[in-house]
């Protein structure tokens, strides 16, 4: 594999063999040529219909078939859709709620706030029953309507929540009928639950503003409290992905030489316009809607919990959804390719949409500054709110990074945490954390992750996103 520096932190994997396009890698420091994730970037460059580049964001790490932090846009009519290019947790994503409450007000009642959130939002293995078990009809509505289903049921920060979600909190191409009975069974009692692993709900303090105008537009003011939620489509999305991988792995070679020649069987895929491709896309989009409804239900539960713990009304809390982004999804979008608009299917696996100013797909209220891009860090340091740019539209199909990326394996992290109380260490730094399992805190401690500041720094220097604000955690709940 030949790597050459294009400029700054951007590197190219030169096209070789049957690669259809080169790879482009944004990297924190020079990329290691033996990194297996780079081989995956090159493998993705074989995907039928791929356009311009197989892209990797600076938080890239090895994934199943596609690297996590990978972006691949294919021609929407003639290209391939790959479940591995979306990932198991379909529409895993992040949202941030702004509030009108001073962070110091929250800090004064931080234990109550964190305890109330932990009581009201189920976390951990098999978390369920945040709300009554869904009926079959309700589940079908969730799969079709996404966040809007939850808003109709009263789970909302304010009345414009749906407009402040990517795609309005709903993918219109969802086909609930394509979601199997098994996937439905896994999801039916999980709406409004956080899950485990790197999923979290945080109460943050707006610690620093880098762009006053953009921050004001986003409703971010220094010293205010904010809430950040990271979760996805729970077991339902996993089942959809698992079934699609099984099915497409068995039929991949039916679609011709380009599919037979794919270098990694994990790149199971099908033509977008095939029966299999359409079935996966319909089910995947329905699962994406489930994820939006999930985060929306948790939004309603979190706002109520915050108000209750603070002894305030929801009106006094003044919560408002800043934005909701998905970072595991494939979506039909129109982008300029070689100077002309083209319908493409953009796979973003561990990558965040980052549309620039003036784009009609960005909510009107943010259109002058660009789409909010929400990048969580780790539970001991900070997260970032960024804004998308026109350079992202030119260079990355309007895509940016999605998080810090792991530095240590879970085993290495647990080893490093042995004999320590991560909760106490965080508490000494003013961060209250509650988790279902003790081990989670070791696996998820700050040292297990790269510094997200380095990751967003690469994106900012490349002009893909602009720094708007930094959030620092005060209270965290995890699985």
């Amino acid at each position: 594999m030949k790597l050459r520096r294009i400029e700054g932190d951007l590197w190219e994997i030169e096209r070789e063999g049957e690669m259809l396009v080169p790879g482009r890698v944004y990297s924190v420091g020079p990329p290691a040529p033996d990194d297996p994730a780079l081989r995956q970037v090159a493998n993705v460059a074989h995907l039928p219909g791929i356009l311009r580049f197989s892209l990797a964001m600076p938080d890239i790490h090895w994934g199943y078939g596609f690297p996590i932090g990978g972006v691949a846009a294919v021609d929407a009519a003639t290209g391939a859709v790959s479940p591995g290019g979306v990932g198991y947790d379909i529409n895993c994503g992040v949202r941030v709620l702004t509030t009108g409450v001073d962070a110091e007000t929250v800090r004064a009642r931080l234990s109550q706030v964190v305890s109330q959130l932990f009581r009201d939002i189920p976390t951990g293995v098999g978390a369920s029953r945040a709300i009554p078990r869904l009926s079959e009809d309700d589940l079908a509505d969730v799969l079709a309507a996404g966040a809007r289903w939850a808003i109709r049921r009263g789970f909302a920060a304010s009345n414009d929540d749906a407009e402040r979600c990517e795609e309005g909190g709903r993918l219109a191409g969802a086909d609930p009928a394509a979601v199997s009975e098994r996937a439905r069974q896994r999801g039916v009692d999980q709406l409004g639950t956080l899950g485990s692993g790197n999923h979290f709900l945080e109460v943050d303090r707006v610690a620093e503003i880098y762009d006053d105008a953009a921050a004001e537009s986003f409703g971010l003011f220094p010293g205010r409290a904010a809430v950040q939620i990271h979760s996805g489509s729970r077991g339902l999305g996993y089942q959809v992905c698992d079934e699609a991988l099984s099915s497409l792995a068995a039929t991949r070679t039916d679609f011709g030489e380009a599919y037979r020649a794919l270098p990694d069987p994990q790149l199971a895929c099908a033509p977008v316009e095939s029966e299999s491709g359409r079935a996966y896309l319909g089910a995947m989009q329905a699962a994406a809607n489930f994820a939006w409804a999930n985060r929306q239900v948790m939004t309603g539960l979190a706002v109520r919990a915050l108000a209750r713990a603070l002894g305030a009304s929801e009106r006094e809390v003044g919560a408002r959804l800043l934005y909701d982004v998905c970072h595991n999804v494939a979506k039909r979008e129109t982008h300029l390719v070689d100077g002309r608009p083209r319908d493409v299917l953009v796979h973003r696996k561990g990558a965040t949409r980052a549309f620039g100013p003036g784009d009609e797909r960005v909510p009107a209220t943010y259109r002058a500054v660009g789409q909010p891009v929400l990048i969580p860090g780790d539970m001991g340091r900070y997260s970032y709110v960024l804004a998308g740019t026109s350079k992202a539209m030119e260079d990355t199909f309007g895509s940016s990074c999605h998080g810090a990326g792991r530095l240590l394996s879970r085993g290495q992290a647990l080893k490093a945490a042995r004999g320590r109380s991560i909760a106490r260490e965080l508490s000494q730094r003013g961060i209250e954390v509650l988790s279902r399992g003790h081990k989670t805190l070791g696996e998820e401690m700050s040292e297990a992750y790269k510094d997200v500041a380095d990751v967003v720094g690469v994106m900012a220097r490349a002009g893909i996103t602009r720094l708007v604000a930094r959030l620092e955690p005060m209270g965290v709940i995890k699985g």
Partner: protein, 147 residues
């Protein structure tokens, strides 16, 4: 084949993996190895705690992809039962295993959210890196889970 019923705990080895988790098990026979793989999955889910005895259930899977694919299919089926019924094997007996089918009898006990609080939330059994091979003196298998 002499069917052997194995109960928790059983030995397994953690495979180091940056974002997910993997297990490797060995056994004197393919049946023993498969049973240990089933119980390794239970151990991850329970955080190493035992599972209260539960009723036996017969679980059969088929695959044309060999023993590695069969073991993935079996673990997927058991993970589905865990996700939807909150039950998991505390004991496992392999009653049939050939190149294209496996059948086990598992004692499915209840998941206890307090006792098993340190368990991992396994979301999927991946095909990536799945192996099931004859080695000197026995068998070795490995599976990576998405969490």
């Amino acid at each position: 084949m002499t069917a052997v019923r194995l109960t928790l705990p059983q030995p397994y080895r953690d495979l180091d993996h940056t974002a997910d988790v993997g297990v490797e098990v060995t056994g004197a026979s393919a049946e023993e190895t498969l049973a240990r793989l089933v119980l390794a999955q239970s151990t991850l889910l329970t955080g190493g705690e035992l599972v209260a005895p539960g009723p036996d259930a017969r679980v059969a899977v088929a695959s044309q992809g060999g023993l590695a694919a069969l073991s993935v299919e079996l673990l997927r089926e058991l993970l589905f039962r865990f996700a939807t019924g909150r039950v998991l094997p505390g004991a496992c007996e392999v009653v049939r295993l050939d190149a294209s089918a496996a059948e086990v009898v598992v004692a499915l006990g209840p998941y206890d959210p307090v006792r098993h609080a340190e368990g991992l939330d396994l979301k999927a059994v991946t095909r990536h890196g799945a192996r099931f091979d004859r080695v000197d003196g026995g068998w070795r298998a490995q599976v990576i889970f998405d969490i």
